[in-house]
């Protein structure tokens, strides 16, 4: 048997790619059942007040309509549980109060999706309207200081500012941005005759959906199965069991039919979270030679009235630079708005824009190269704990990036680099993403034919989870990747946390590693007293997997194949469970990913048009499991960063709270023509905090782009833009 084990890190093509490109991969909205009915929600068209009447007569009379459930007659439902992501969204349709525009006030179920949508438009809702709180500065709004207990005070800020030769004091603003995965959020719910429930959902966390549905509908978790083998992107929108999921399950229960609910694009703007706006004041003091003496970052962001969202915008600034005197402050304002939620690189995307713009302003004021300024203030140890980093290759990121980008060609004077009508600007930003890992489980089985089946209820939202876990298990078990099947997206599999927080690869990878090692141990246990086995009496530390079996470490000829062991012991298969827990290093500070982003922009001198011409990203991503999928994560994040920098802004109508641009024609995200050449390079080695040594790379790709673009626009034009998105009207 010739086996070529793939090296971890190899650029293996996605194992599920053939299914996706042939259309064979079934996404939740592809699922159907005999007798499937379709649900469509009705949304409030005011942002604050009460529903006084709902006339459903016309809707009920419309062709194909099976049921209409409204906020005035819906059955009582319990709110979902508190999970590791915080509280669950409120259950829908539970009272007559309207807390935000787009809140669900009814759901219509009909034989076809078109009939349901049409009938939903016939539901007539009357309101008693209040004046909504929509502005972050509304004096009526409740403001909470330090909502997460993460504010930082280090040293003496005022003294640090007083000793500074130069002080930057500027305010930056970022707008609401909306997650726009191509796959519309969709749910298919089926109640079975025995009272059990199957749900197909575009979720990033099947177990989270199961927990929510169990609590909301009073069904034991063991009688609920949630399936999400393929998800058409998420970017955070699929982290929670949002209200439309509950509506679909409720509709199925009320009608006794399998029900599918697919949100429309406009509904995605009010029902599945979004990056909330922020206003951020930054003060930085520095000596003439560019040493930071003080750093203060104060941020405010909105949240919904009766829901929550984690958005500690300023926090990472306390960890970004070696600075003795630091203050970070976060505040949250409760408004009549749809609840914000995680959007790729929540908090970091906004906070980094402000901090790295301010650092650029400081560099300009001091006449120091922006790259040098960052290196002079490199945090060699973790500023929060004083401990050495578990790994940190940020300086290599800057050095390598500068070389690849050609930073030395930059002439410092703004507007000094030109190409015809175009003013050319070079900008950079540093980036970091905090580490995150939560407990995870996996199970690995070896079949009698020597093939392996490894699984966990995780999701692959386009990141490459299927592929990297296949690769990892193949290497750990000494098998060819073609002999390994990794499966996911099913709550009947071992528990997995969400694909989020850039934490899944670490959590799941370490759980798969644990399961595979436990499986090797299970084989050693079987042959422990087997006189026919060359592995008899060996411990896990004394063996390696390879060539389709186990052998003495360093001696591939000394072992035996899995198939031989299973056959001799009359075993059809052997299985083992594995689990991972978050690392708790006590002599190092657990580091996340780091990166340096270099951007070239072109700004039309007369028309103000801004185009990103080039991006070089050098990322310390720890141990990279697959060069291709990891690079794709940075590329995708970079495109998201270009969107944040130049295009994305969810606009809310004053007074009504209506989203004024909730379509792909009006909410701009980058198209291919906006996406330039992007070079991605990884540096650094395995992180020492976990056995696997990975760092999450799902989000850092977005961090730093907006600041690097803004800094490049300043270099091109001399104009400092402190409010995103950067648009041409600000440059005329």
């Amino acid at each position: 048997m010739t086996i070529t084990a793939p090296r971890i890190g190899a650029a293996l093509d996605r194992v599920e790619a053939p299914l996706k490109v042939t259309g064979a991969a079934l996404y939740p909205n592809d699922v159907s059942y005999p007798g499937l009915a379709h649900a469509a929600p009705v949304r409030a068209t005011i942002a604050a007040g009460r529903v006084t009447a709902i006339d459903t007569a016309e809707a009920r009379a419309a062709e194909g309509v099976i049921a209409v459930v409204t906020a005035l007659d819906a059955p009582r439902l319990r709110r979902g549980p508190v999970t590791l992501l915080g509280i669950s969204p409120p259950a829908p349709l539970q009272d007559d109060r309207i807390l935000h525009y787009g809140q669900y006030v009814a759901v219509v179920v009909a034989d076809t999706a078109e009939q349901a949508r049409h009938a939903a438009s016939l539901v007539a809702v009357e309101y008693a309207e209040d004046v909504p709180m929509l502005d972050i500065g509304d004096p009526r709004a409740e403001v909470e200081d330090d909502p997460w207990g993460m504010d930082v005070d280090r040293g003496d800020l005022e003294a640090g500012l007083a000793e500074a030769d130069v002080v930057i004091d500027e305010t930056y603003a970022t707008p609401d941005n909306t997650n726009n995965p191509l796959g519309l959020m969709s749910t298919v719910a089926v109640w079975h005759g025995d009272g059990s429930l199957t749900v197909h959902d575009a979720t990033q966390w099947p177990h989270g959906v199961r927990m929510s549905l169990a609590e909301t509908f009073g069904v034991p978790e063991s009688r609920i199965r949630v399936l999400a083998p393929y998800v058409g992107g998420g970017f955070g929108a699929g982290l929670r069991a949002w209200q439309h999921v509950i509506l679909a399950v409720l509709a199925a229960r009320e009608t006794g039919r399998p029900v599918k609910l697919v949100l429309t694009r406009p509904e995605m703007f009010t029902g599945v979270g979004y990056r909330p706006e922020s206003i951020q004041r930054i003060r930085i003091g520095a000596t003439r030679d560019g040493r930071l003496t003080a750093l203060a970052h104060e941020a405010i962001a909105p949240v919904a009235l009766e829901d929550d969202n984690f958005e500690a915008v300023s926090h990472t600034s306390a960890r970004a630079y070696a600075c003795p005197n630091v203050m970070t402050r976060d505040r949250q304002v409760r408004l009549n708005i749809p609840c914000p939620g995680s959007m790729r690189a929540p908090t970091e995307a906004q906070g980094n824009f402000a901090l790295e713009s301010a650092m650029d302003e400081l560099a300009v004021d001091l006449g120091i190269d922006p790259l040098d300024l960052r290196l002079r203030n490199f945090a060699g140890t973790d500023p929060l704990t004083g401990l050495p980093w578990s790994s940190n290759a940020l300086r290599e990121c800057f050095a390598r990036g500068a070389e690849l980008f050609g930073w030395s060609r930059r002439t410092p004077e703004p507007g000094s680099m030109r190409d015809g009508h175009w003013r050319v600007g070079y900008g950079l930003a540093g980036a970091s993403y905090p580490p995150y890992q939560v407990p995870c489980q996996a199970r690995a089985s070896l079949q009698h034919d020597g093939s392996a089946f490894v699984r966990s209820a995780a999701t692959d939202i386009g990141t490459g989870t299927y592929t990297v876990m296949t690769q990892l298990a193949a290497e750990l078990l000494g098998l060819d990747v073609a002999r390994v099947r990794f499966d996911l997206g099913d709550t009947d599999m071992p528990y997995s946390p969400q694909a989020g927080g850039s934490g899944l690869t670490g959590a799941l990878g370490n759980a798969v590693r644990s399961a595979c090692r436990q499986l090797l141990q299970a084989f050693l246990d079987v042959v422990a007293d087997d006189p026919e086995s060359p592995l008899r009496g060996l411990t896990l530390d004394e063996v390696e997997a390879g060539g389709g079996g186990i052998h003495r470490a360093g001696d591939p000829g000394s072992g035996e194949a899995y198939t031989a062991i299973l056959a001799r012991h009359d075993l059809a298969e052997l299985s083992a469970d594995g689990r991972s827990t978050p690392p708790t290093p006590d002599t190092t500070a657990w580091a996340g990913a780091f990166g340096a982003r270099f951007v070239e922009v072109r700004v039309d001198a007369d028309l103000g048009v801004i185009r990103v011409a080039r991006v070089v990203s050098v990322i310390d991503g720890g141990r990279v499991l697959n060069a291709k999928t990891a690079t794709s994560q940075i590329v995708g994040g970079t495109v998201g960063g270009i969107g944040q920098a130049l295009f994305e802004e969810t606009v809310t109508d004053e007074g009504t709270g209506r989203i004024a641009n909730a379509t792909f024609g009006d909410y701009l995200i980058p198209v291919n023509a906006d996406v330039p050449d992007m070079e991605v390079v990884f540096v650094g080695g395995p992180d020492t905090a976990t056995p696997l040594g990975t760092k999450g790379v799902g989000e850092i790709g977005l961090v730093g782009i907006a600041a690097a673009v803004a800094n490049a626009v300043h270099h091109a034009t001399g104009r400092r833009l402190r409010s995103l998105p950067l648009t041409l009207d600000a440059l005329l």
């Binding site: 949508r117 438009s121 009508h421 295009f647 009006d666 198209v671 023509a673």
Partner: protein
């Protein structure tokens, strides 16, 4: 989308007869605007008369004009060799619009009749829209203003006309051939569109059931140089913030003929007659171009959110003139 019936017309006279006689009926061509508006609940025709099989597709050169059947797609017109050589700015405008997928469906007749992109017009949950329901008011004027018009507006409507190709076509004095119940007629594109006034729901001179059968494009003199410049936030697949279509004839550095129209700024595709007067006989250069831009935008009525468009439109026109004349 409400329920509707669907019929496929086999003859233009019959199609015109059906739609003229039935207030609930509407033509369906490429559908790229029509179906969106139906899905959004803005339009609710009870009957769609599919005209895509009518013999109104194709491009014919007749002497000094090109006659374009109304059902010719945007991509087909963009690929026409005569268009590419004699009026390249028509091709540029076509290719700057929409996406390839849409351009393969969208027809020239439909393009001229596309409805406003105004998000207040396109969302029936907004009650106040004079274009949807005359007399209901205009939420857009006090709303998010960045994409609104600054020329030809009224207190009743500020919605922009979003067509790209209509801009060079109006500069060329294109003609619209139609068929109604009274027979055929020809309307100059310069007189085809109606400013909103107090009837923003009436957007053009077509009568109920009257069908565009062809668009006739007069070819300018062979030595005419043309250019279409579109300015927008995104590099592709976005409507214009501002655009300019220019066609000039030069004798040395003297402009002997000029045709100018602007997009992205008007409630209708905006023919800049005053600019043409300035340019005709002028010497190529920044002074004449700036003056042409100033006179064109002199009547602009911007809102706070569209104030930037006044200067942007001027610079767009100047840049287009610089490009087409090769001026430094």
């Amino acid at each position: 989308m409400g329920p509707f019936t669907y019929v496929r017309a086999v003859d233009p006279v019959e199609a015109v007869g059906v739609v003229s006689a039935d207030p609930g009926a509407a033509f369906l061509a490429g559908g790229t605007t029509q179906l969106d508006l139906m899905k959004d609940g803005v339009l609710s025709p009870e009957k769609l008369v599919d005209i895509t099989r009518l013999p109104l597709r194709g491009i014919a050169r007749t002497g000094t004009t090109i006659r374009v059947g109304a059902l010719t797609t945007m991509e087909e017109l963009a690929a026409d060799p005569t268009v590419a050589v004699r009026v390249p700015f028509v091709r540029e405008a076509l290719l700057a619009g929409a996406s390839v997928q849409l351009r393969n469906m969208a027809t020239i007749g439909g393009n001229l009749l596309q409805r406003a992109r105004c998000r207040y017009f396109r969302d029936p949950s907004v009650a106040a829209c004079n274009k949807r329901e005359r007399g209901s008011g205009c939420a857009a004027i006090d709303g998010v203003q960045r994409m609104h018009a600054i020329l030809g507006t009224s207190p009743h409507c500020v919605a922009l006309h979003a067509s790209d190709v209509a801009v060079p076509l109006i500069a060329l004095d294109a003609l619209v051939h139609t068929r109604g119940t009274d027979g055929t007629r020809t309307v100059p594109l310069t007189g085809f569109y109606l400013p909103p006034g107090d009837t923003p729901d009436v957007e053009n001179v077509l009568r109920r059931g009257e069908l565009i059968t062809a668009v006739e494009i007069p070819l300018p003199a062979e030595r005419t140089r043309t250019h279409y410049l579109k300015v927008r936030d995104r590099a592709s697949y976005e409507f214009a913030l501002t655009s300019a279509a220019v066609a000039v004839e030069l004798d040395g550095t003297t402009i002997t003929g000029a045709r100018v129209a602007l997009g992205g700024v008007g409630t209708v595709p905006w023919r800049a007659w005053d600019a043409e007067d300035v340019l005709r006989g002028a010497t190529v250069g920044r002074d004449a171009f700036r003056e042409a831009a100033e006179v064109t935008l002199a009547g602009a009525r911007p809102l706070p959110g569209t104030a930037f468009k006044v200067e942007l439109a001027k610079r767009t026109l100047i840049r287009a003139l610089e490009t087409v004349t090769g001026a430094p």
